[in-house]
Amino acid sequence: MPKHYRPPGKKKEGNAAKYITRTKAVRYLQISLQAFRKLCILKGIFPREPKKKVEGNNKTYYLMKDIQFLAHEPLRQKFWDMRAHDRKIRKAEARRNRDLADRLVNRRPSYKLDRLILERYPTFIDALRDLDDCLTMVHLFAALPAAEREHIQVGRIHNCMRLSKEWQAYIARTHSLRKTFVSVKGIYYQAEVEGQKITWLTPHPLQQVLPDDVDFRVMLTFLEFYEALLGFVNFKLYHSINVKYPPILDPRLEALAAELYGLFRYISASSGRMSADSHAIVSSGDKKQVEDDKMDTGNDESEFAELQHQVPANEPGALMHLVEDATAADEEDEDTKECKNLFKNLKFFLGREAPKDSLLFIIPAFGGVVSWEGEGSPYEEADEDITHQIVDRATQGHIFLSREYVQPQWVYDCVNARIILPTEGYLVGRVPPPHLSPFVDNETEGYVPEYAETIKRLQAAARNQVLPMPGVDNQDLDNPQNLLAEGIIDRAQANEAAEKQRKLAILEKQYHDELKMEVEGTSYSSLSSKNLEKPSEDVEEDTTADTDNIEEHALNLAKVSMSRKKRGILEAIQIHKERKKAKVDILKERKRKANSRKSG
């Protein structure tokens, strides 16, 4: 008799009752494996890892509760109905009964996912929290070609495009984009909506290849859910800024593949108070009236000035989305304000080779005005107010002296650093400085790339506060202007300059001290002795090295009296640390070699 014999009449217990294998689950639900897969994807059911795998190690286990939950799902019945319906159509077609077949095709049973979404995401925050994969997938499909072979229909591609643009329009409109990163895989964006950080990846706008080893049926099932989810999320978000959803776009702009711009116009036109403002502008075209209007609503001078500055664009649509929403501004947090004002007074123009989709999204999200080469653009290249032209091509036609020609990376780096970086390094034709990921915490990683330090100092300079240079005391670097210039110089040079400055500062300080002392009446000798105290630090360092040794010794001794388990954990921690250190060491080594190659 086996050890786990269960007498008849006694219920299963433990893991045997709690978990069910996939095959058994499919049998239990009386559906095909495909339908089961679809159901699992839509309902968000996933396999589990039971502590004791009763049926064998090579099986997939589901929670019995989950499967029971699936058994009560109305979708299961719907799938049956659909299957029966498909059979009817096939039958009608086989009998050449075209009437019936057509009628049946039109009446295919369909289902809605709203109930499922609400079930999976009871609160809106839950939905936002799970939006990363959804956005990545929708953005990917927006860039895929329609392929009949893989059942990727044009309609779905268009739907994905529309949803992604709507999402981007909302993010740009509310200025909730926080970080961007151009990687080899595509462009990463991170936005913060209702306190949730949402990261997504958009592929580079190039022709995508459909690999053979991908089962598109699985992906399309996921996409089906994600499309619905993003639609509902967009609805809720648009509702929150008082815009009707789904938006109705200007067909002209849509035809020109400038949906995003069209959406901006739509959003600004339809949010309540703003439309009134813009009406005033459009109808009168008179700055005076605008001024009156503005005064009435009690906006401050600076906003008004900005508005005036924008008016010569002569394009109502461009204006509309620039109009500040003063009441909303009060509610916004610091971060949003900072993002909103990053490109506040800048006017951009995109060259033909710049990534238009991405920049059209980013620049407005950070408060800039942007136009592009081509039809439907708000303003022409010849516009005198353009401050920056984004180009990614070495040769230019006509060069305007009033604007700066920068590479697209400048925009991304500015956004990540949250300051306007000096453009010298990013000028056209040069190799731009390295593009760093904003998602990495350099300190915990243990290695700070050189350019990250430069950016840090530039940020500090922009905030009018001084950060210590590594190996330099606090009293130096008082001039942010100098620093700003320095930022783009090579690191070695920067260090050198800093050293010089420090020496000067020390001398200066010494001079001041002497003066002070003269006033106070102390002798020079005491001062020198005071200065001499400084090197004592070095001595102390030696002793600390010694204590390090002792500590290590003590650690070894402590290890002796640890239990085996704890010792194992400790060793694992140490191995982890060493691995991390080895990685950093490789980086440092490469850096050193690169430097020596450069100098040598």
Partner: protein, 696 residues
Amino acid sequence: MKKEIPAEPLSDESKRSDSTDPSEDEELSSYYGEDGEENGESGGESDSSEDEVSSLDDAEDRGTNGDVIKSVEESDSSEDEVAPRNTIGEVPLEWYRDEEHVGYDVSGKKIKKQARKDKIESFLAGADNVKNWRKVYDEYNDEEVELTKEEIKVISRLLRGKTPHAGVDPYAPYVDWFVWEDKAHPLSSAPEPKRRFIRSKWEDKKVVRLVRAIRKGWIKFDKPKEESQFHLLWTDDSNAADNKRHGVNYIAAPKPKLPGHEESYNPSIEYVPTEEEKNAYQLMYEEDRPKFIPRRFESLRSVPAYDMAVKEVFDRCLDLYLCPRSRKKRLNIDPESLKPKLPSRKDLRPYPTTCYLEYRGHTGPVKSLSVEISGQWLASGSTDGTVRVWEVETGRCLKVWDVGESVQHVAWNPSQERPILAVALGHDVLLLNTGLGDAEVQMRIKELLHVEESKSSEDTGDHGSAVRWFRHDKYDGIVLKHFKSVSTVEWHSKGDYFATVVPTGESRSVLVHHLSEKQTKNPFRKLQGIPVSVAFHQKKKIFFVATKKFVRVYDLESQRMIKKLETGCREVSSISLHSTGDHVIVGSREGKMCWFDLDYSSKPYKTLKIHQKDITSVSFHRTYPLFASCSDDCTAYVFHGMVYSDLNQDPLIVPLEILHGHTRSDGRGVLCCKFHPRQPWLFTAGADSVIKLYCD
């Protein structure tokens, strides 16, 4: 084979063929060919004017028209058709292959086979007879048949795919026998019935069904309206608790990893691997190879499409619905918190920390040490065959005995009145008079160490004597000659008894000797395992025997085993007793040291894995709460080992110091360690022939 040919066209043709010229016919036939094509195109309509020519045949048939008619007429009569000569019927001819005959004729006579013609004959026949080509061999009747001209013609026509007889007219005009003129009415004059104008019963039923379906809405003709499927789903979050399905069982999918610097399109130069490193990746195993190799692009426009974009999203999808999820507790421990809370080492002073003295003089590895009970003298035995006595405080070598054999063990008599040194070497144990102490002591010792010649122990019985007591002439002591080599000698604390271990001695491997009586006893009738070391309890009459895996504790009085301590080690090398006698430490060859609390359990209270190599010796201090271990990895560890008189409190073990200093020689490190009896000092003897004294 019967050919039925309509009579009329034939006769018609026969008439006409008589009156026509060959030249005319040729023209007509060509015309006919064209006409045939035309006929095909016009779909079988034929004019009455062309009827005459349509029945004409080819030019070559024309000349023999008369013959054709004759043959046709002949064939028409079936009765004159010649029956085959052979009457065997349709049986396989191979049945007659070996017979002389081919069958039977009508009268039942055998038909004899004809003689076979050989090739030359047949060739000559062919050459002679012009008509030979017409001859056909009939296998069935076994005769040669000469085909007539008509027959050959029929064959040739068949071969060309034509009708066998030239007289057949395939395109004869249709003759309608019914007379159509003067018929005023159709064939039937019945009126058209009503049912032609009304629905049938079945049609009615079908209509009723359709009407019902339409009325009930089963059939709808207008396309369903496209309405926006989106609405405000999350109205307010107050009712969130009601439809909360995520119970404790729900595990959210982990978010994908965010990209680091190396994934940038333009990473800083240190993130891009060099060519050599990339080549090195190729040599790695597939699993170890990095999935993503950073690349650097000069400008954004030169970045190509990422070929794995779809694949990666697909993999993520698979992970989401196929990968089992389970909650994992990620340990986030400060390594400091893992260390046990131990009292500061400063509070546990004094303990030996630094090397204070070195005793040099031995020329070989020093195997054993022993300190005299007063702490003034140190004895050492070495493999170079000498035993030395040192003055502890000065390092002066007081005495050297050259015993001529590698010394295994030395032990100083723990009694102050008996400055006797026991030395184990080879098969012998020497009891040496060290010559210390005053005259009275010396006299008593001389008396004690006096032994008559060849006094052997009696109780060894029939095995022959295990031990014999002899006088040692050279050094004025006693030598105990054992039957096998001795490894250890241990004194009882009173100084009158001592025990020796003969590891290979089987049932006589542990022997207890009585010095004043000069007697030897074998306390164990049978001993399991090979004994490694022995120890006497300080106060009680308890005896410890350490075998390779266990430590057995015997009561000497009642002569039985009290306890068996399971060390869990593979090979015990040494044992030491705490001065209270309730605690034992055992060192093993795999570098483990076990602390046993005898009152507690037969399992170790604590096992310390400290040394990388074999522990050679462990030792307790007599008075201070210290113990030490030394090993072949050239280190000695000093521990604080506090034993409380309160039974509820566990002994406190704190590692204090690692003593380095000895150098390795011949794979051995420190061979012995002993504490000073009064001071917190530690003596260590190394394989590098140096003895070191560590003081606090």
